[in-house]
Amino acid sequence: MAEGTTPLATPLATAYRAYEQFEAQLAAALDHVVATNGFADLLATTATNVMALTRIVNGSVDRMVRSTRLAARQDVTDLARQLARTEDKLERLLQAVESVQEQLTHEKAPAP
């Protein structure tokens, strides 16, 4: 980490170079570790547990909120889903209208 291009072999520069070497070796070692089945098992189970726990917490909070007669997260999601489906239908309708419009334009166009 010496400033500029200073060629001085200061203790700080020496220590920094040693650290860089250590970091490179650690990187190579951990790259190898993450590609092992043991790590894959650990990661897979941890990720699944995190999502399962999230589901339980979300469900519990939702039930608590609903018990107060307020709309909970799931209710809002259901409403948003209904809106999304309505938009899907509108989009399909728009595509159909545009298709008919193009067909009519072709039919109206004078034959060459």
Binding site: E3, A9, E23
Partner: protein, 364 residues
């Protein structure tokens, strides 16, 4: 450096330098912290654009251009798990800006940020509805019958699947950048193929959080992503060579991770990673097999990066032999999954080649 000064003088100079460097460390750390804390202020995706079409969370943008020279418009498609701003990272270093300067009519497909209500969206919805309609709207807005499709990462896979399903459609040129296709031997596959990985539980909350996917991505190179990047930032601040805007723009983009809709996630993991369905020829979207040999009419450019650990070169190369087209080009370049197209050398090393390849195939 001993030289004519003698060892005693050199030792004194070294000691002085050590003291000087050490004294500067607190300021270096303060400046580094400031850069990291103000990353969210970075301006990304700043090129002026207008909305052409929207559906649910998907938006099609068209960039303003007053120097259009090539007839066939370009549609840019990125992955579902990061924002497409990487195509337009920052003023002065933007692929969109570059393409506009080269005279192309540029469109961008933004998948948006899906919510839990979008958990029903599967790969077929993205490929056969969203992308299909975006291509159609791009052609309409541009007043053309054909488009060039540029996909990057997962966006490239979606673009390739679409072109294979609609070989007689408007896609004239297909460019796939660092695209995952063949998952054999990949670390990702090793991770998701373990019995402990329950994909049903993973999607049970509707969408898989982007942060979780980001953690997995970074775990592929844990030290490089978590330590080396920050250490290099400290080093560049200390030596006065830091490019603050470049670092912040990239850090902001990397840190923005939309959730992955549940259905699409399940299909991506099961079909692409566990079953390797695209290579095995068993990928079905709405009952139709995704067969890359049907891509015959299109010119295809495949770009791979030698240091890509997310979509390794070996996972893309089989695509070359699966194509039916006679006009296939392969650029194998130096770089990483993102750095290849968004790194500091992209503007001089890869963008001009892409533009030249497209220009020769974008006449009316």
């Amino acid at each position: 450096m001993t030289g004519p000064l003698g060892p005693a003088t050199a030792a004194v100079a070294a000691a002085v330098d050590t003291v000087r460097q050490t004294a500067r460390l607190p300021m270096t750390l303060l400046r580094t912290t400031n850069i990291m804390l103000t990353t969210d202020d970075a301006v990304i995706g700043a090129t002026p654009r207008q909305v052409v079409w929207t559906h649910r969370k998907t938006t099609l943008y068209r960039y303003h251009s007053d120097r259009r020279e090539h007839a066939v418009p370009i549609l840019l498609v990125f992955a579902l798990i990061n924002r497409p701003d990487i195509f337009d990272l920052r003023p002065g270093h933007s692929f969109v800006e570059f393409l506009l300067d080269e005279g192309f009519d540029v469109f961008l497909l933004d998948w948006g940020v899906p919510g839990e209500e979008d958990d029903d969206l599967g790969l077929a919805d993205y490929v056969c509805d969203e992308l299909h309609r975006a291509i159609r709207e791009t052609a309409r807005a541009s007043g053309q019958h054909e488009v060039s499709l540029i996909g990057w990462c997962m966006g490239a896979t979606l673009a390739a699947m679409h072109t294979a399903l609609y070989p007689q459609g408007p896609v004239r040129n297909l460019v796939v950048l660092t695209m995952p296709i063949d998952t054999r031997g990949s670390t990702y596959r090793q991770w998701v193929d373990r019995p402990g990985f329950d994909v049903d539980v993973m999607v049970s909350n509707g969408a898989v959080p982007g942060a979780l996917i980001d953690v997995a991505n970074k775990l592929l190179k844990p030290v490089t992503n978590h330590v080396t990047t920050r250490r290099k930032l400290v080093e560049s601040v200390h030596t006065g060579t830091v490019d603050r805007l470049a670092y912040q723009a990239m850090a902001k983009w990397v840190g923005t991770n939309p959730p992955f809709p549940g259905t699409a996630y399940r299909e991506w993991i099961v079909a692409l990673y566990r079953q390797n369905a695209l290579v095995e020829g068993t990928m079905l979207l709405r009952g139709q097999r995704v067969d890359f040999s049907r891509i015959r009419r299109q010119a295809v450019l495949v770009v791979t990066a030698d240091a890509d650990h997310i979509a390794p070169r070996a996972g893309t190369v089989p695509f070359l032999t699966m194509l039916g087209s006679q006009d296939v080009t392969h650029f194998d370049r130096t770089g990483g999954h993102i750095g290849l197209m968004a790194g500091s050398r992209a503007r001089s090393q890869i963008w001009p080649d892409l533009a030249e390849w497209l220009a020769g195939r974008s006449h009316a």
